[in-house]
Symmetry: C2
Subunit: 240 residues, 2 copies
């Protein structure tokens, strides 16, 4: 893990870009003498880690006493896509333009991205946990399909905050029953591209004894900021 | 409004029992020099205001800087029931024992209780707002059917936290579209007596631009304590 740049913000948070082999990432850490728990913040599908809203959430969470890390996994951000992923994205644009069903295209595209992202996130987690400034349980935040896979595969994940606004492949919908960590699912009630009933079915399917659904009015990008604060308290309950 | 007893608690909260004509109530106020906003805390249907969990919630909310008031409205707690209400309760016990449908019985029982409770809550609100220790916007917490009626009838109610675990008569389900204040609906995902889909439909129906649903695992009485704290932050956003 090589740090390639660093910036100290006025709230005391230090943000550092890093590379780990081919994987580019960002680590935010609070001004803290003691090691802190870690939250992995994964953005949905194709969004780059540089997205301002993700950075703002990460800063806020770090200022509250967490190390926060994100990466552009394979196929995300500027990372090269496979020929099949490029084809699926082209098919998706065409199908959306024509008003045709898109589920099967998402199934193959998101399925492929999850498969390729999981080992990179685990490698990143291994490296992060060797840093002296990080210790304690690990939380996950963001991209649901990836998070389900990670939470099932990696017992180091102890609490998960998921955003329901993204396609979840059938394999991960099945796996949801095996997720048993405390979880918080965020739903935008009128998310244009993501049928509400699927999110409710997914919430029902999770195997966790403690699971909470927060639904708010509005479309895909309308999640109110107070949910970032609610999310912070969710992590405080389980990681501190 | 006559105060009949008072008790100062270790958290500084003063709780006072009062009567207002035939209406018995309790008012909790924080140790505060300035007047505070008010939260009306209504318990579902037949539960008495003396219920320990309601008292604990009221104390917690008052300690956070609110005046909190509850009453036993007509037909609630020890208050006399009408002959029709007594009959409906007997019918309910019989139907539940026999595994028969209960919706129509609830329709008449809860409908009657809401009709009788609304004027008493408004009278109580009038009296509370004359007290020097109370000023500012009014919030509502608890019994959904009553709260819908009050929020539609009384513009002084500025934010509403509802608990989905109670029968909502058809008239109030219709009226939900006219509720426009910010609201937080609490749902127990596996509430034995209250079908989940009805609560989701009700959430969908509310006319409020800002509405949030919090769903948690478990049955009717399993709401986790952290929801009291989340509720507090909801009132802080809208009443302070």
């Amino acid at each position: 893990m090589h740090f390639t740049s660093e910036e100290r913000h006025e709230d005391g948070v230090l943000s550092r870009e890093f590379t780990l082999g081919e994987i580019p990432g960002i680590l935010w850490t609070p001004r803290s003498a003691a090691p802190t728990p870690l939250v992995l913040m994964a953005h949905n599908n194709g969004l780059p880690m540089a997205q301002p809203r993700l950075r703002a959430r990460a800063r806020h969470t770090a200022a509250a006493g967490y190390a926060v890390a994100t990466i552009d996994a394979a196929g995300c951000g500027d990372r090269p896509r496979t020929a099949a992923e490029e084809q699926a994205r082209a098919d998706l644009r065409r199908a959306m333009g024509a008003g045709e069903p898109v589920d099967e295209i998402f199934e193959s595209l998101v399925g492929s991205m999850v498969e390729r992202a999981v080992p990179e996130w685990r490698t990143t987690l291994d490296a992060l946990l060797t840093l002296p400034e990080i210790d304690g349980p690990v939380g996950y935040s963001g991209w649901t399909a990836l998070g389900i896979r990670l939470a099932v595969a990696d017992p180091r994940i102890r609490a998960a905050g998921f955003f329901a606004g993204g396609y979840v492949p059938r394999a991960q919908r099945e796996e949801a029953r095996q997720v048993t960590v405390p979880l918080l699912l965020l739903l935008q009630w009128d998310d244009e591209g993501n049928p509400r009933q699927r999110a409710l079915d997914l919430f029902d399917a999770f195997g966790s004894e403690e699971k909470t659904l927060h639904a708010n009015m509005g479309g895909h990008v309308g999640t109110p900021w107070f949910e970032v604060e609610d999310g912070g308290r969710f992590y405080d309950r389980h990681l501190k």
